[in-house]
């Protein structure tokens, strides 16, 4: 028994050393221009903009679904698009903008539907570990304790991926399908929109597994949204929740019920979508490479809707102020 335990401990120590070595000592030379670094640029812009400003918060549905310049020009308010990757998790996505929300700001939250029923999408996927360890360790301050526990196995995974030279596959999602060109830091404009793909033809759509009705909506995700709403109100800002863009055929093949469910749960807790989710269900030809990523035409169409919605909100606010 003693021999067995000693051998097991020795073996586990070797594994632990390999992981620590990989995590902290192996340099990651290949990701200097990776799209994850756009997070630094987005934070710099967010930090530099005076209030009132419009902050778009969400995952890649925003990075690949918004023309921020048009929004800024139409509404005469500074805009920053923080959307980068849904895999950062809803907790991180909300926490990273909180310190920058000030009086008069409009925060437009456009979460991916997956944020509401996947624990990984709530707490963060491997890509968040990559962001924390490679891109900017200052982001650690946005991580909660429960997230940290969740991230331990993913961190081990990340360390091994580095060791096996797989870090690019993980952070440049497109590599596996060969469409990696747009996943670069310099594909983003100053507002935070991914613009390089606008010049590309539509790519193969990466299919998502059919969502089943048995998977429950995470109450923790709903609570996070409710708390975020309170937080913005306390900071004298306004939170508007908008649905993400979503591909029609995916919507019809297994997601309709889930999206309706999310919609009704958000309504129940008084944090509804400001426009119905169906408004952002677009035909398949408007999508670039996933059910969330729009192409140029799609981006413009969605931006039209967003401008219209924001204008009507601003108008109603002005009316209230006058009254």
């Amino acid at each position: 028994m003693r021999k067995f335990i000693l051998h097991s401990l020795f073996f586990m120590s070797i594994i632990a050393l390999i992981i620590l070595f990989s995590l902290f000592l192996i340099p990651n030379k290949r990701i200097a221009n990776n799209s994850l670094y756009a997070n630094i640029d987005k934070h710099n812009r967010l930090d530099s903009l005076p209030s009132p400003k419009i902050v778009f918060v969400g995952g890649s549905n925003l990075a690949y679904g918004l023309n921020s310049k048009r929004v800024e020009d139409s509404l005469q308010m500074s805009v920053v698009n923080m959307g980068l990757h849904a895999g950062f998790g809803l907790k991180f996505i909300l926490n990273e903008v909180k310190p920058y929300i000030n009086k008069g700001d409009i925060v437009v939250l456009s979460p991916e539907y997956h944020h509401f029923y996947s624990a990984n999408m709530l707490n963060g996927e491997k890509v968040l570990v990559a962001l924390l360890f490679e891109v900017d360790r200052k982001n650690m301050k946005y991580i909660t304790f429960s997230q940290l526990i969740h991230l331990i196995p993913l961190t081990m995974q990340y360390a091994v991926s580095k060791l096996m030279g797989k870090q690019m596959d993980m952070m440049e999602e497109g590599v596996e399908t060969g469409y990696e060109k747009q996943y670069k830091r310099n594909s983003f404009n100053v507002y935070g929109d991914e613009v390089m793909h606008l010049g590309f033809p539509n790519q193969h759509i990466i299919q998502m597994s059919k969502h089943t009705d048995t998977e429950e909506i995470l109450s923790e995700s709903l609570q996070l949204v409710a708390d975020f709403d309170k937080y913005t109100t306390n900071r004298n800002a306004k939170l508007l929740i908008m649905p993400p863009s979503f591909m029609s055929s995916t919507y019809k093949s297994g997601y309709k019920h889930t999206i309706e469910n999310i919609d009704s749960k958000l309504k129940e807790q008084n944090t509804p979508f400001v426009i119905p989710p169906e408004s952002f269900i677009f035909r398949d030809s408007l999508f670039f490479n996933t059910a969330y990523h729009l192409n140029k035409k799609g981006v413009e169409q969605r931006t039209d809707s967003i401008i219209k919605t924001l204008k009507s909100y601003i108008k109603s606010r002005q009316v209230k102020i006058v009254i």
């Binding site: 067995f4 070797i14 594994i15 091994v160 299919q207 597994s209």
Partner: protein, 479 residues
């Protein structure tokens, strides 16, 4: 609590340390620990169903005693049928009620009649098919006078609820497992190391092979109507490896975990994809279920005794019931019928026991004939899995029809180069080890140098870590 989760690793570490160190190695106290940990393990899934498990255990324990002490045959039969009916009743209620109601309603509608029956909104208790069959085998064995009932309720409960096998088998027999539970167990270094190796191999199969296949297979099957034929072919082949890696991986972890606790469980897989015909495949796939049906259904029905047509009928019934056991869906029944149809010619022409040994025994490579036989069997099995995996029969046939189009000659859009290397390495190791118990069995006799052996273990662990973290559930948990 999944075997492939950090939670289970912590749970098992605590159980292992307490089991071998805390109670002076007294087996009765070890059994209490096993029972508490098994209940905790099951309660982590859904504690409400723990009550059902305890009730089911208590029922079989009690009826077993009553049958044994029954003064006459009539009373013995009464207790026997009470246990069988209640066990199958629960199984039918939770697993098959909605299926029968829906199928009956569909039948009426097809005759132009109105049908609106209430269905139950119930969750299937995890492992119900497995622990029900455990209990049934115990009751049937007592009824047939093969065993005496276990008088200690704790011992009997451990037999039914032993956590490594509770939710997905192997389906144990009282004759095999109970004697191990009711005697002292000693720690054996060699067996414990072998247990760890089997767990490692099981985790590799589940996390590296099955889960990676799943990430490609699921979107293909879910959207088969928009896939090219080459993608569909890839999906079907990868599902074949997925289900094997998933289920045999689970069994390996279960067997290894039990071995670390000094208990040997029944072998569930014998390298089935190296089978030379369907009959051999079924001697190597889910062995504990196949032999269960053989002993408790096929033989009581008459088995191969009597006329040929009776034997054919009995075999057909076994395959259909086996298919239905997997789930309340016509796809599973059809899958069973499909395999029955493949098995029948072998049975009719008396060739169903042609291959009872291991392929290419004592040789490194198979002969051309054996290779062709294995590839043919594999192809038929792949075809069968399409029915198993599809959501409906319509989807399954749609999938197969779509396979036969000119796009079969295009390149699949899913890149599987890394996965292919893993699958190839996995099958190579299994081929080398096919005459042993599992993929890493007696590994020291193959790789004699310890540093190389440890290097391979480290590589396997790092691969598991790299692909792990998703904690994908096991396919057979739904059964």
């Amino acid at each position: 609590m999944l075997f492939n989760s950090i939670g289970f690793a912590i749970f098992f570490l605590i159980v292992f340390i307490l089991y071998w160190t805390a109670f002076g190695k007294k087996y009765k106290i070890q059994n209490i620990l096993l029972l508490i940990s098994s209940y905790y393990f099951y309660g982590c899934w859904n504690w409400h169903f723990l009550l059902l498990l305890i009730f089911s255990t208590g029922l079989d324990y009690f009826t077993g005693l009553m049958m044994y002490e029954a003064p006459d045959k009539r009373k013995k039969q009464l207790w026997f049928w009470l246990s069988v009916c209640v066990n199958l009743g629960f199984l039918g209620l939770f697993k098959y009620y909605n299926f029968f109601i829906d199928s009956f309603a569909d039948l009426l509608i097809s005759f132009g009649l109105k049908a609106n029956f209430a269905t139950l909104q119930v969750i299937l208790p995890v492992g119900i098919s497995f622990y029900t069959f455990h209990g049934l085998s115990y009751v049937i064995d007592i009824y047939n006078g093969r065993i005496k009932p276990e008088r200690n309720f704790i011992h009997y409960s451990v037999f039914v609820c032993f956590f490594p096998l509770l939710v997905a088998g192997p389906i144990e027999r009282a004759t095999h497992l109970l004697p191990q539970i009711t005697r002292e167990r000693t720690f054996d270094y060699t067996k414990a190391v072998d247990g760890l190796r089997q767990i490692l191999w099981g985790l590799f199969k589940k996390i590296v092979i099955a889960d990676n296949c799943a990430s490609i297979v699921n979107p293909i099957f879910d959207n088969y109507h928009i896939q090219s034929a080459s993608n569909l072919l890839l999906g079907a082949i990868l599902f074949t490896f997925q289900i094997y890696g998933d289920f045999s991986g689970y069994s390996d972890i279960a067997l290894g975990t039990a071995r670390l606790l000094g208990i040997e469980l029944l072998r569930n897989f014998g390298f089935p994809y190296f089978s030379r015909d369907i009959a051999e495949f079924w001697r190597r796939w889910h062995i504990s279920l196949t032999t269960w049906f053989r002993d408790y259904l096929y033989i009581p029905l008459g088995g191969s005794r009597g006329k040929k047509w009776q034997s054919v009928r009995n075999t057909f019934i076994i395959f259909l019931v086996s298919g239905f056991w997997h789930g309340a869906n016509w796809t599973f029944i059809f899958w069973g019928a499909f395999h029955a149809a493949l098995f029948m010619p072998l049975l009719i022409f008396g060739r169903n026991r042609l291959y009872t040994n291991t392929v290419a025994e004592g040789k490194f490579l198979p002969s051309i004939k054996e290779l062709i036989q294995m590839l043919t069997t594999f192809t038929l099995v792949v075809l069968g899995w399409i029915f198993f995996r599809a959501s409906t029969l319509r989807d399954a046939f749609g999938y197969i029809i779509s396979l036969f189009s000119h796009s079969i000659f295009t390149m699949p859009t899913h890149k599987v180069s890394t996965l292919s290397v893993y699958i190839f390495s996995f099958m190579t190791v299994e081929w080398i080890q096919r005459e042993r118990k599992h993929g890493l069995s007696q590994f020291e006799s193959i790789i004699k140098l310890q540093p190389i052996r440890w290097g391979i273990y480290i590589f396997l662990i790092l691969s598991i870590i790299q692909f792990g973290g998703k904690s994908e559930t096991f396919i057979y948990f739904q059964f």
